[in-house]
Subunit: 278 residues, 2 copies
């Protein structure tokens, strides 16, 4: 780096995590991306914890195993992505400046997917604790692309570093709690970087009924892509094949006045029911 930020950078602690587990090439890639920006500490679940959302482990003890896989130390933890954020800020990095999560194998676009994603879950948990965070995901089928397609991996590394550097230097805009960044399946010098909100749905789920050899029914759940609305993260990543940066706010309240005037009669009805019980 070598600019005037150099001294400040040595004080900045960055937590790097990945819900696909310690062996994910996405973890390595993201660690390399943020290493020049501060003191990076890598933590990940021992085993993949996709679709774990914000789950927390309360009923079994957690272990931390230190390993060295690619020339840097990784802390393997037998817990969920959210557990890892709590262990990190309690035991390893008291005041992190940033949490980066990913790069996930597979995109995390749409609220439907975001709300069940372990990658975004770790970032959301960090945001709840007031730590700026960024989730990164790539629309790839398997880990090979991140491990073996060097051009693709390098482009992700440089773009992720640019985004992380900007957030470290300037913070997130007022009212934004985290950034959810999705890379398309190919990156060229012509790929655009767009800002767009999340779509609501990514998949419509269907059920296929079958019979086992004994004649008993069983069911497969399978998703089919839901048509993407224009100017949403799904559209940017899957239709336009561009990079999408989606600002997320931890606020699920309806817009407008509060308490919601239109709900007042409902609350009154409930109140009335309760008050009239002898």
């Amino acid at each position: 780096m070598g600019d005037r930020d150099e001294q400040g950078e040595s004080e900045r602690w960055i937590i790097v995590t990945n819900d696909d587990g310690v062996y994910s090439p996405g973890l390595r890639l993201l660690y390399e991306a943020v290493k020049p920006l501060g003191r990076a500490v890598a933590l990940a679940p021992e085993t993949p914890k996709s679709s774990s959302g914000l789950g927390i482990t309360l009923h079994k003890p957690l272990r931390i195993t230190r390993m060295n896989l690619w020339g840097f130390e990784i802390h393997a933890i037998n817990g969920t992505p959210s557990d890892i954020i709590h262990v990190a800020v309690n035991e390893l990095v008291r005041s992190p400046s940033l949490v980066v999560s990913g790069v996930n194998i597979g995109d995390n676009t749409s609220l439907q997917v975001i709300l069940s994603s372990g990658t975004v879950g770790a970032a959301l948990q960090a945001s709840l604790l007031g730590i700026p965070s960024i989730a990164f995901s790539a629309d790839v089928e398997g880990p090979e692309r991140l491990a073996e397609d060097r051009d693709y991996a390098e482009r992700i590394t440089l773009v992720a570093r640019a985004i992380a550097k900007k957030v470290l230097e300037e913070g997130l805009p007022q009212g934004v709690d985290l950034l959810n960044v999705n890379f398309p399946s190919r990156l060229t010098s012509g790929t655009r970087v767009k800002i767009a909100p999340p779509a609501r749905l990514r998949y419509m789920e269907y059920v296929e009924k079958r019979e086992d050899p004994r004649g008993a029914p069983y069911y497969w759940l399978y998703g089919r892509p839901f048509p993407a609305e224009r100017d949403t993260d799904v559209y940017v990543v899957h239709e336009e094949k561009n990079i999408c940066i989606t600002p997320i706010a931890l606020n699920m309240s309806p817009r407008g006045s509060y308490p919601h005037e239109e709900l007042a009669p409902l609350a009154w009805k409930a109140q009335n029911t309760l008050s009239n019980i002898p």
Copy 2:
């Protein structure tokens, strides 16, 4: 019932589910609450699926087992609360008018808890599909209160029925995707029904380090209640001991103009990085 809605009511299908599983007294209670309002269909996971959020099962087949526990049919499914919504709308109830989820053993207050809750997860999944939904939870320590404290259970039944009836008759207000209802640990005729937004945090998580008999360290994660901000769901349920109705919108975008002007320089920086790769 016997009012002019009687004919209409016979056409209304209501999905009743519960993340604590088929044996939860909360499922029975909620079924009894909505039974007079339409055709109620009960579905639940075979085993408890708390903290499962919006996870979906794609890698193993699902089974539906019909059982009769308390005088009505319950469909037990070896999946998550979100799976159950998809199985229900694909196989059992084509166009439900309402999904009710709960009554959960333990409250689901604050975004931190809401985002990891299986009870709210089922309701959120229904909302994503455009079905009005209501999640109900009670601040009780164990299932006994719902099973054995008849006054408490009856009050919950009547209030839940009043809320569900109002939503069936009038729908949810524009911009509201689901209601998250939390009951305090005691209900009297003096208990108030309030409308309040979710707090951000319910627990601050800590880590306690211990050593096993062989001297190896392990860690317990444990939460301590986070001080409740006034006029939030946590405050209403835990400080005021009142019933809280929290309207939830499936919209996690920051308020204000879009694309977020303040993020434009960050996107530009990322774009510039990518464009300059040879």
